[in-house]
């Protein structure tokens, strides 16, 4: 049985697949600039809630781990290739991946000793990871920072491939 706040907070942080994907959300938001820089961190938890509900309810969704790995691959590639998509498409992409992440948290919830604390924990950790991504993405203001951010995007994508093929 998982515990409360600490377990919830640690759940996204201890899984590297969650970490890189959520940092990538923040970085891509920073790359796209306003309003995506703050709209993506709003859309992500809202849609993640739907995934969490599906996880709690036990609605079968195949390929959750694949979806989480794909989120890192796709978001990393979008940053690496400096792809600027319209805001609504960006929201759909991020929201779509958020369902997989939420589902993974949701399946842990029914076993939690203190579900409220667990939920608060994983929501705060998710927000913190977005913030880290945004902070790193703000390096784009400097020419060298652009290379750093795009390289980080490539690394995130590689991480995602590693998770997908079981190397990470």
């Amino acid at each position: 049985m998982s515990g409360g706040f600490v377990s919830g907070f640690a759940h996204p942080i201890l899984g590297w697949d969650h970490v890189v994907a959520m940092v990538a959300v923040g970085m891509w938001g920073a790359f796209l600039g306003a309003p995506a820089i703050w709209l993506l961190p709003i859309v992500f938890p809202l849609v993640m809630a739907i995934g969490t509900v599906m996880g709690i309810a036990g609605v079968p969704i195949p390929g959750i781990e694949t979806g989480i790995a794909a989120s890192a691959i796709v978001l990393g590639l979008l940053i690496l290739l400096a792809i600027r998509l319209p805001l609504w498409i960006a929201c759909i992409i991020v929201g779509g991946f958020a369902i997989f992440h939420g589902y993974a948290h949701g399946t842990e919830l029914p076993q939690s000793a203190n579900p409220l604390a667990f939920i608060i924990g994983f929501v705060l950790a998710t927000g913190m990871l977005h913030l880290i991504g945004i902070a790193f993405g703000l390096l784009l203001r400097w020419p060298a920072g652009k290379y750093a951010v795009r390289t980080a995007g490539g690394l995130i994508s590689l991480f995602g491939l590693g998770f997908l093929f079981g190397f990470a």
């Binding site: 703050w38 961190p41 709003i42 938890p45 739907i50 309810a57 409220l116 705060l124």
Partner: protein
């Protein structure tokens, strides 16, 4: 039983607290005349709700319904679509009714029940006014775009927590 025990009830009942926080954030981001109207509706309907509660109306669906209201209110606060003032009033009325019903104390001497219920009403209104006041102060004190963004991100978190708890309440464990 007692006024203070009733006053603390909305603070220690997470379903009420989530709904009140969500409603507060939604009202705190709304234009000022709409906050006044929402609060008036909330307070009035809460009195009606608590009367139903004192008369013995109880329903297990009240708790998940409160959290669902929390999700909708916080989600609207986070996304801030235009022209949702009517929905805001409706949500205030629903939240008022359900907070009122769930603030009704356990059966006991009528006088004690009424005093405890009054404490619950005051507590719920206190949370609403305090959080809205806090949001207004925060936005006045830090008059930047990011202060609005921060409140909207917190609203999204409240929405996520609310709907997850609602789902958990409705799912047999």
């Amino acid at each position: 039983m007692g006024f203070y025990s009733g006053f603390l009830h909305p603070l220690i009942s997470f379903d009420q607290l989530l709904a009140l926080l969500a409603l507060s954030v939604m009202c705190g981001l709304a234009p000022k005349p709409w906050f006044g109207r929402s609060w008036l509706v909330f307070a009035t309907v809460a009195i009606v709700g608590i009367c139903f509660g004192l008369l013995g109306y109880q329903d297990a669906r009240v708790s998940p319904a409160l959290m669902a209201i929390g999700f909708v209110a916080a989600g609207l606060a986070a996304l801030r679509p235009s022209g949702v003032q009517t929905i805001q009033i409706l949500l205030s009325a629903l939240a008022g009714a359900l907070v009122g019903v769930s603030s009704a104390p356990d059966p006991g001497p009528v006088r004690d029940m009424i005093i405890t219920a009054c404490g619950g009403l005051v507590g719920a209104n206190y949370i609403l006014l305090a959080v809205v006041g806090g949001i207004c102060w925060f936005r006045d004190r830090f008059d930047h775009e990011w202060s609005l963004i921060a409140v909207r991100i917190i609203a999204a978190w409240i929405a996520t927590i609310s709907i997850s708890m609602a789902a958990l309440a409705l799912t047999p464990r």
